[in-house]
């Protein structure tokens, strides 16, 4: 009986894992052109294949990896690059804080893996898709995206631009389309959600346009301002419809 139970629990987890992997297809596709570009850029910067692989496998944060390549070329010190990386990726602190309120964190054993897999894209997915937030579904989604990111890096390093140029450029749109596809259904349901998203986008655009802060700070401040306005202005009642 005990064995039966744990067996069925295991098949349940495997099917969740598989569902998560299926759900990650848009992210999987979206990561490929970016990862391939990272791989070939790493090669042209003089980074070895192993190092390029480790960048993607251990850091797993696109924008900061590109930034690191650029700073390496400029001869900036590793200490400074690490500091910039910290600021650039600190937005994930906000995202993880939110996710910790919706993920099943009672089961602590998977937390290191789940939190390592937090990216803009997986965050966007889980914060809007409410139907499946079980540990194995989460990891299925996060780690197929991971395979795409790391695999794409190696492919880009070894084979260069395998995707035709125009298609490669168009595929740069994929991740934005993903964010839009996740936002629109929420926006249709809730006016406050729409307003907050627009504020977030506008504040981020203004800060970026006027170069108020560095890239990392801009998005953190934009998110905090928009979420803060939401928290201040929306009363509890309206909040319920979010």
């Amino acid at each position: 009986m005990m064995i039966n139970n744990s067996l069925s629990a295991q098949t349940g987890q495997i099917s969740e894992l598989r569902q998560g992997m299926m759900a990650s297809l848009p992210i999987f596709i979206g990561y490929i052109p970016v990862a391939v570009t990272f791989g070939l850029l790493a090669k042209s910067t003089g980074v070895t294949l192993i190092e390029a692989f480790l960048f993607s496998a251990l850091v797993f944060a696109g924008a900061s990896q590109f930034m690191a390549l650029q700073l390496i070329q400029f001869g900036v010190s590793p200490m400074q690059i690490v500091t910039v990386t910290f600021i650039m990726n600190f937005r994930h602190f906000l995202m993880s804080s939110y996710l910790s309120t919706i993920f099943p964190i009672n089961d602590r054993s998977w937390l290191p893996l789940i939190s390592f897999g937090v990216t803009d894209e997986s965050f966007a997915y889980f914060s809007t898709q409410k139907q499946n937030r079980r540990s194995h579904f989460i990891m299925g989604l996060q780690y197929s995206a991971y395979v795409s990111w790391v695999g794409g890096t190696v492919i880009g390093y070894l084979f260069g631009a395998i995707i035709p140029r125009t298609l490669q450029a168009s595929m740069g749109m994929a991740l934005y389309a993903l964010f839009i596809a996740l936002l629109i259904p929420e926006a249709k349901k809730s006016l406050p959600a729409t307003i907050i998203a627009i504020i977030g986008g506008l504040v981020h655009s203004l800060l970026t346009w006027f170069k108020f802060f560095s890239t990392g700070w801009n998005i953190i401040i934009a998110i905090l301002v928009a979420a803060g306005i939401g928290a201040l202005l929306m009363d509890e009642e309206k909040e319920e419809c979010l």
């Binding site: 848009p26 596709i29 980074v47 070895t48 190092e51 480790l54 850091v59 990896q65 390496i72 590793p78 690490v82 500091t83 990386t85 990726n89 937005r91 994930h92 602190f93 995202m95 993880s96 804080s97 939110y98 309120t101 964190i105 009672n106 937390l111 789940i114 939190s115 390592f116 966007a124 914060s127 809007t128 125009t166 450029a169 168009s170 749109m173 994929a174 934005y176 389309a177 993903l178 964010f179 839009i180 596809a181 936002l183 629109i184 929420e186 406050p192 959600a193 998203a197 977030g200 986008g201 506008l202 981020h204 346009w209 998110i223 905090l224 928009a226 979420a227 939401g230 909040e239 979010l242």
Partner: protein, 102 residues
């Protein structure tokens, strides 16, 4: 060797902000005010992730990017399959790029 150290450093400062909130909030409940703020993070973040980035997704070809954005909005308005929106948006961007002689 220097690069490996750099990667390990970058990994640490990237992983910790991703990990610490889970540890903190699995032990203590966030205060009410913080919780209120957190509820709005998804929409605020999605907005900030889309703008201004989406309009500059194809450097030098803003119209191709805008076509992609419009296609994504229209498609996701009517269909809930995310993958469909992604493909539709990429296709729209591709067409504009193709006809602008990219």
């Amino acid at each position: 060797m220097n690069t490996i150290l750099l990667i390990v450093g970058m990994m640490s400062v990237t992983f910790l902000p991703r990990y610490l909130p889970f540890i903190a909030f699995s032990r203590l409940k966030p205060p009410r005010l913080i919780k209120r703020l957190l509820r709005f993070i998804p929409y605020a973040a999605l907005g900030a992730l889309i703008l201004p980035g989406a309009t500059m997704a194809v450097p030098g070809y803003p119209w191709a990017a805008i076509a992609g954005v419009v296609a994504a909005i229209v498609c996701s308005w009517f269909r809930k399959e995310i993958i469909l929106t992604v493909l539709f948006s990429v296709a729209a961007t591709f067409l504009v790029l193709y006809f602008s002689g990219y």
